[in-house]
Subunit: 224 residues, 2 copies
């Protein structure tokens, strides 16, 4: 063998791969999943269309990785927020709020990751993504239940329902469209968080709504 990948090359390859993924993410954040087409993404990443296929076997794989990546970031943010909370109930509230703020900060991207029609099959990665997030929420609900703050319940189902409520009301087609106003945005987050927490049995949810103020402002979360 007269050719071996040098460290420099490996780094360049990795960078290019990241660039392609980043380009896909930008495209999705910009115009939804519909905008994630091979040719435009390639242009964004400053490579040729064929090059994309040297890094991803197919468009489905590209989008799947995109979903996985966003999902990982989201999960990390949720954990960070929840772990920083003083108790199980606050942790749950923080987790819910984090999801709400994130999806609102990146509506198009969230819609694309969650539910937007795509011409390739990405059900598997979407399922995995939802499972991860729902699982994390379920864990937090469970903790609150064990701490005696919530009634016993089917935590998995409850977590799924919570996410459904958040997504539908904040990024779904019926979501209010005037959420650019920061005040209304915060109101929406608070209202939905309140609903979600009451759904699982929190009684003093209104008081906990204040945790919204304690979390990192939306701006800082946009990039995460």
């Amino acid at each position: 063998m007269v050719y071996r990948r040098t460290h420099q090359v490996v780094k360049r390859l990795a960078a290019r791969r990241s660039a392609i993924l980043a380009a896909a993410r930008e495209a999705a954040a910009d115009g939804g999943m519909a905008a994630v087409q091979i040719a435009p993404v390639a242009v964004r990443a400053h490579v040729a269309a064929g090059t994309v296929y040297r890094y991803f076997p197919s468009k489905a794989d590209l989008i799947s990785e995109l979903i996985a990546e966003v999902s990982r970031d989201e999960l990390a943010a949720i954990r960070r927020a929840a772990d920083a909370a003083p108790g199980p109930s606050s942790a749950l509230a923080a987790a819910v709020t984090t999801v709400a703020v994130h999806v609102l900060s990146q509506r198009k991207l969230a819609w694309g990751i969650l539910a937007e029609p795509v011409d390739v099959d990405v059900t598997a990665s979407r399922l995995a993504s939802r499972r991860e997030i729902a699982g994390e929420i379920a864990i937090r609900i469970d903790a609150a239940v064990r701490a005696g703050h919530l009634p016993a319940q089917d935590t998995a189902l409850a977590a799924t329902a919570l996410l459904g409520a958040l997504h539908e009301s904040l990024v779904g087609p019926l979501a209010p469209d005037n959420l650019d106003d920061p005040v209304k945005l915060r109101d929406a987050v608070q209202t939905v968080t309140l609903l979600a927490l009451r759904a699982v049995g929190v009684m003093d949810a209104r008081a906990r709504g204040l945790v919204v103020q304690a979390t990192t402002p939306a701006k800082a979360l946009v990039g995460a």
Copy 2:
């Protein structure tokens, strides 16, 4: 003019149109929206592919009407159930239960109507469908609020969130897949109804969960 539509012909045309819509509905109930393709639908309706275009300008229109039709049926069922209830809270519970039972009875169809990726743009009719159903739920929430059974709240947002919770947990990708068992089915309906009612502030929701027993059994609702 030596040709005028006779009553008989008008009836035949209407019948054919219905047949095509029915075929589309069957296809959707059978294999989701992905199965609603012009050629197969035409076969099911016993017409040629071209004939479909004599009744619907495009596939998007066909699917839009399908969505509208199912939505109308759903709305009627919700109203019927809610109006039969003795009071505002029961009406709300009945409405929620009806939605839950219906989507569970026709998972594939519901998924297709609500969220399944489609290759044509049906956002408008989906939006209208959601708006109608959510509006009806909002009305029922509002009635309960006015009766003093629920705290004041943004009823439109609450209704949207409720539907999101129902849909995600019952027909979404994370929905339990063993809901063929009638017992588990009823459990799921009851659990999700409980969650939904608590979300809007019902305190004695557990007791109201019993309304599930009072509603028409799933079997009778399948065709509706």
